[in-house]
């Protein structure tokens, strides 16, 4: 979707709020939101791409008004509501409705392993369509759903810098349409191809683009 979350290239946000030893959390409640989002998982729980798409569907004014962890809390709540795991009434009251039976399959503390990892890379039969060095052009797509091709890099020419095998396709996975593993490439764009003659002729922007969003250049 062409949402306000897709902010690469936007003006109007002012200076970077940079601090040299900036922390991940600035308030205790932010830590709890993060822990809730990380810890609330059990069989059948939403995947990463569904979680991202929940954030993107926040009303645009809220997205821009909320802080980062408020947005996470919003995304978590929306995912729970859409999964019929909680009701709006329960959210508003902060307690379970009468007669609600607690689940017993939520994940235990053993899932708290920052070194656990599950790759998004998959084996596929299809051979990659593009070779490193080949000129490509990105698709001009404006889907109402989730995509990882930002607006600033659509309908733009670059070249294939690297191939990453086939990986889960967020555009499908966010919508419960399966993993649809698709070849993934890093594509290098001259900054001027993206931003016009005002950009430096020496600079480039690299992003990972799935094969279904690329045409021969």
């Amino acid at each position: 979707m062409n949402g306000v979350h897709d902010m690469g290239g936007m003006h109007g946000f002012g200076r970077i709020p940079y601090q040299e030893n900036d922390a991940a959390f600035h308030h205790h409640w932010e830590r709890r939101v993060w822990g809730l989002c990380q810890g609330a998982t059990y069989p059948g729980w939403a995947n990463l791409d569904q979680g991202r798409f929940a954030l993107e569907r926040m009303p645009p004014a809220l997205y821009l008004s909320y802080g980062y962890f408020e947005r996470w809390l919003y995304g978590l709540t929306l995912t729970l509501l859409e999964g019929a795991l909680v009701t709006l009434d329960e959210v508003e009251r902060g307690e379970a409705r009468a007669g609600s039976e607690p689940r017993d399959d939520a994940a235990g503390p053993e899932i708290a392993d920052p070194y656990a990892h599950s790759s998004y890379r998959r084996e596929v039969e299809a051979r990659p369509r593009f070779a490193v060095g080949e000129r490509v052009r990105t698709a001009n797509l404006h889907p109402p759903g989730h995509t990882r091709l930002p607006r600033y890099a659509r309908d733009k020419a670059g070249h294939v810098h690297r191939h990453h095998g086939a990986q889960v396709l967020p555009d499908a996975n966010a919508h419960g349409r399966g993993e649809s593993p698709t070849h993934l490439y890093t594509v290098a764009f001259p900054a001027r191809a993206l931003w016009g003659p005002g950009a430096s002729g020496k600079d480039r922007v690299f992003l990972n683009v799935w094969e279904c969003h690329l045409h021969p250049g």
Binding site: Y18, A23, D105, Q167, S200
Partner: protein
């Protein structure tokens, strides 16, 4: 093709009609609801916070960088297939299942962002700092990297090539900053202690250690 699903509970939620405006209260209410419904276990929340806030952090990325500085073979392998090399060191992890390493030097400066959300190599750098998640950083660094870097104290000569990496997939980027001058005598552990988080994102350069 309209933008919205038919209104349901989730749709009404977007109006946020009756929720307390203080996020601390909203989190508390949500946590107690989810615990009550068995959707989360408090000890799991505590364990997640504890492990991710303390067990991982820039010290992991710094180990990789310092080794690349002292071992040319390691560096070549790292730049060729960082996922394999970081995996051998046991430093892959959540949000860091695949890694690409990017070498900063006098002629090329790499800087990393995620314009669409805030993807970041958790296992190598810990959880991301606030500024990395800010709208200003997400919006600006892809369009005007030199102005952003200057604002953050990194002034690049015109003939340096700037490469901005926008983290659009489950592949994470680790910048290998330039080894500062005057560090020839330091061992790998001492070198690792010099490597800052922000230099591994690409928004800082490393200064020579105090004599």
């Amino acid at each position: 093709m309209t933008d919205r699903e038919p209104p349901g509970e989730a749709d009404r939620f977007s109006e946020l009609a009756h929720l307390p405006s203080d996020p601390a209260l909203r989190v508390k209410a949500m946590e107690s609801l989810l615990v009550e419904k068995g959707l989360v276990r408090p000890e799991t929340i505590d364990a997640c916070i504890e492990k991710f806030e303390h067990d991982i952090g820039p010290h992991n990325g710094a180990r990789v960088v310092a080794r690349a500085w002292v071992d040319a073979d390691f560096k070549a392998r790292l730049l060729g297939d960082a996922t394999a090399v970081v995996g051998e060191m046991g430093l892959l992890g959540e949000q860091t299942a695949e890694v690409v390493a990017l070498e900063n030097g006098p002629r090329v400066h790499n800087v990393v962002v995620c314009t669409l959300c805030s993807c970041y190599p958790w296992a190598l750098l810990g959880l991301p700092p606030s500024w990395y998640k800010s709208f200003a950083y997400r919006a600006r660094v892809v369009r005007e990297p030199r102005a952003v870097l200057r604002e953050l104290g990194v002034d690049l000569a015109e003939d340096v090539e700037v490469r901005v990496w926008d983290s659009t997939a489950e592949v994470r980027f680790l910048v290998v900053p330039e080894r500062p001058a005057g560090t020839e005598e330091l061992n790998e552990a001492a070198l690792a202690a010099l490597v800052t988080r922000d230099s591994m994102i690409g928004v800082a350069r490393l200064a020579a250690p105090p004599a």
